[in-house]
């Protein structure tokens, strides 16, 4: 397949805490193709941002191992100069909190202008201004000329996120990483921003990595989904398979925890606990086992690995076959009893 844009193999990103390195991204392998939206889902702390930052080379103090092959360049080994040319040019990034992602002391127009200038050092000021205005139009800003000269705090949250998006796409990137682009926004604004990203997908033909913990967003936007838990991919599949036929206990728990309107028991399915911190993460055996204590110890694999269970559908470990929700078992027991 030569439409593969990004081919990540055994990526491991570790942070130094005191005297040891702890992996926040552990042995992640996946591909991103042109024109596709790959969603990465997982709870807070599962390593999604650490993963995105590794691709962009934005970690300042992390050990990165493995291979991040972008069009023949291994980003994990690329030098500062190579990365500088790619970042903001071929690879754009949209951040979660637009207010803090923008420089408070610069008008937003100048911030977008800077993104263009950095990769077109010979371009004229007036041409760039036109480009910025076009971009502002493209991301749906009603009065671009006026907005150009405004400071971030003068804009609404939705407008600010549009600015961040305009900045990320200012040089027609081939790879766009959106790290929870809507979490900081109101629900109505959220859907507007998602519509915008969908629209961009059609126009800029980039490969998009969409990071989120909202499975509703995934269902609406993604072509393929990778589920991340404690730094590892636990399941990866196309969006239909994953939604209709989830296998890994973690994926199933996540899907179960989406509140539905006529679901009374929803609370029962919400998985207890949180992702353990880096230092407290079990490094041997299964990382999720602690959160499904009702499953017998013997059911877990000693060192769970990703298995391809059907074409393009990977699940970590084989013991998912024995997984059940506790109340399911109870229902069954009741059923048998009656």
């Amino acid at each position: 397949m030569n439409d593969v844009l990004l081919n990540i193999k055994n990526l491991k990103t570790s942070f130094r805490i005191k005297d040891d390195y702890y992996a926040a991204v552990d042995d992640v392998s996946l591909t991103v193709r042109k024109n596709e939206v790959l969603a990465i889902v997982g709870e807070s702390g599962s390593g999604k941002s650490a993963f995105a930052f590794s691709i962009m080379g934005l970690h300042t103090r992390a050990k990165i191992e493995g291979e991040i092959d972008y069009k023949g360049i291994n980003l994990a080994k690329a030098n500062a100069n190579q990365m500088k040319k790619l970042r903001g040019n071929e690879m754009g990034m949209i951040f979660q909190d637009a207010l803090s992602a923008l420089n408070p002391l610069m008008v937003v127009g100048a911030q977008i202008d800077e993104a263009i200038l950095l990769h077109n050092p010979k371009s004229s000021k007036s041409l760039r201004k036109k480009q910025v205005i076009n971009l502002l139009n493209q991301v749906g800003i009603p009065r671009p000329e006026k907005t150009y000269d405004q400071y971030p705090h003068e804009l609404s949250g939705g407008m600010r996120q549009r600015i961040v998006i305009a900045m990320a796409i200012s040089n027609q990137p081939e790879l766009l990483i959106a790290d929870e682009p809507t979490t900081a926004l109101d629900v109505t604004i959220q859907s507007q921003i998602l519509d915008l990203i969908k629209e961009l997908k059609e126009t800029i033909h980039a490969g998009i990595i969409l990071i989120t913990h909202d499975l509703g967003v995934v269902a609406e936007m993604a072509d393929r989904v990778a589920v991340m838990y404690a730094g590892q991919i636990v399941e990866i599949a196309d969006v239909y398979t994953l939604m209709e036929n989830p296998q890994h206990p973690y994926t199933r728990s996540l899907l179960n925890s989406i509140p539905t309107l006529n679901e009374v028991k929803e609370e029962l399915h919400v998985i207890q606990g949180v992702v353990p911190s880096l230092q407290n993460l079990p490094r041997t055996g299964c990382r999720f086992a602690a959160r499904i204590p009702w499953i017998e110890e013997s059911a877990h694999e000693a060192s769970p690995e990703l298995h391809e269970i059907s074409p393009g559908h990977y699940v970590r470990c084989t013991c998912y076959k024995d997984f059940y929700f506790p109340e399911q078992a109870e229902e069954e027991r009741n059923y048998v009893a009656n």
Binding site: N89, D97, A101, N103
Partner: protein, 320 residues
């Protein structure tokens, strides 16, 4: 923005009025009055009483207050009781000297603080940073007057590089180049002594401002746009950290007032601070009150300047 500046400036009016009332009360509370410095205390009490009446010194306090204010506005602070000359004349030259000393100190303060703060902030937790923060701790711990005495002893008396008192060598013709150099030479040691100590708070402030800015999300954005590290520093980190430093400027002025009082006395530099201490020890009350009023005014103007600069440089404040 202009609205904000006008409003902020208007606030100084009540501040100045309160200051003037306080100073007036202070002046009233002190023994003696405007007459004391003018006349020979041996004249006949009846004549004195007549003069008091004529000068309005028997009027109710608020009438006296307005009379006093009227005089102050016209630059009339009364008569120095010790020097037998108008206070305004006495202060005039010394004020110029103090202004020069303060200006030199300010320039040196920033010349020291900006490079040290930048190095220390950019390369925090390296040995360079540790040396610089070590210096700032010493600066915080060392009392200014002791440090100044040490400087005076070493560079003035032992090495003889600088004059040990005065503001200009006697006999130099004002307006000549030699006069200017001599003035500068007299300024340098006191200004440097003061700057070396007062600069440490600016160094620390700049350092923590830079360290703080370095970790901001918009710095990551700047990198994600493809900025080189040097551009990230010059365009985003430095710019955003230096602006709050600019606002510090006004408060430096307030700090200088206290500093000059010590420094001018130790270096025998004829400025307002030196005059202030000597007027206290000589019980030259009219001089004292005039100086307190001027120091107070400087502090009010300093705070005003800070706020105006801050509103000019920070758009988030500009709007409110």
């Amino acid at each position: 923005m202009w609205k904000l500046i006008v409003r902020r400036t208007l606030i100084t009016i009540p501040q100045i009025i309160i200051l003037s009332i306080l100073v007036f009360i202070l002046a009233q509370a002190m023994p003696g009055d405007a007459l004391t410095g003018l006349i020979d205390p041996n004249i006949d009490p009846a004549t004195i009483e007549a003069m008091r009446e004529r000068l309005g010194l028997n009027n109710p306090w608020y009438v006296q207050y307005f009379d006093w204010i009227k005089g102050v506005i016209q630059g009339d602070f009364g008569q120095s009781f010790r020097f037998k000359m108008p206070v305004s004349e006495l202060i005039g030259d010394r004020m110029i000297n103090t202004l020069w000393l303060s200006l030199a100190t300010l320039i040196l303060t920033y010349l020291i603080a900006i490079p040290l703060g930048i190095i220390s902030g950019r390369f925090n937790d390296t040995w360079l940073d540790r040396m610089i923060t070590g210096y700032t701790y010493i600066g915080f711990a060392a009392p200014l007057f002791i440090f100044a005495l040490v400087m005076l002893f070493i560079f003035g008396f032992q090495l003889g590089w600088f004059p040990t008192s005065g503001s200009v060598a006697p006999g130099t013709e004002p307006g000549t180049f030699a006069y200017f150099i001599s003035k500068l030479n007299h300024l340098l040691l006191p200004a440097l002594s003061m700057a070396l100590i007062t600069t440490v708070s600016t160094v620390q402030y700049l350092r923590s401002e830079i360290i703080d800015t370095k970790q901001k999300d918009f710095i990551v954005t700047a990198r994600a746009k493809g900025s080189s590290e040097s551009r990230v520093y010059n365009r985003h980190v430095l710019r955003n950290s230096l602006l709050p430093i600019a606002a510090f400027f006004g408060y430096e002025i307030t700090g200088l007032i206290g500093g000059t009082i010590f420094i001018e006395n130790i270096f025998g530099y004829p400025g307002m601070g030196e005059l202030f201490l000597s007027s206290i020890s000589l019980r030259d009350y009219s001089v004292m009150t005039a100086l307190v009023l001027l120091f107070g005014l400087a502090a009010i103007i300093g705070a005003l300047l800070s706020d105006i600069i801050l509103s000019l440089v920070d758009p988030r404040i500009r709007i409110k």
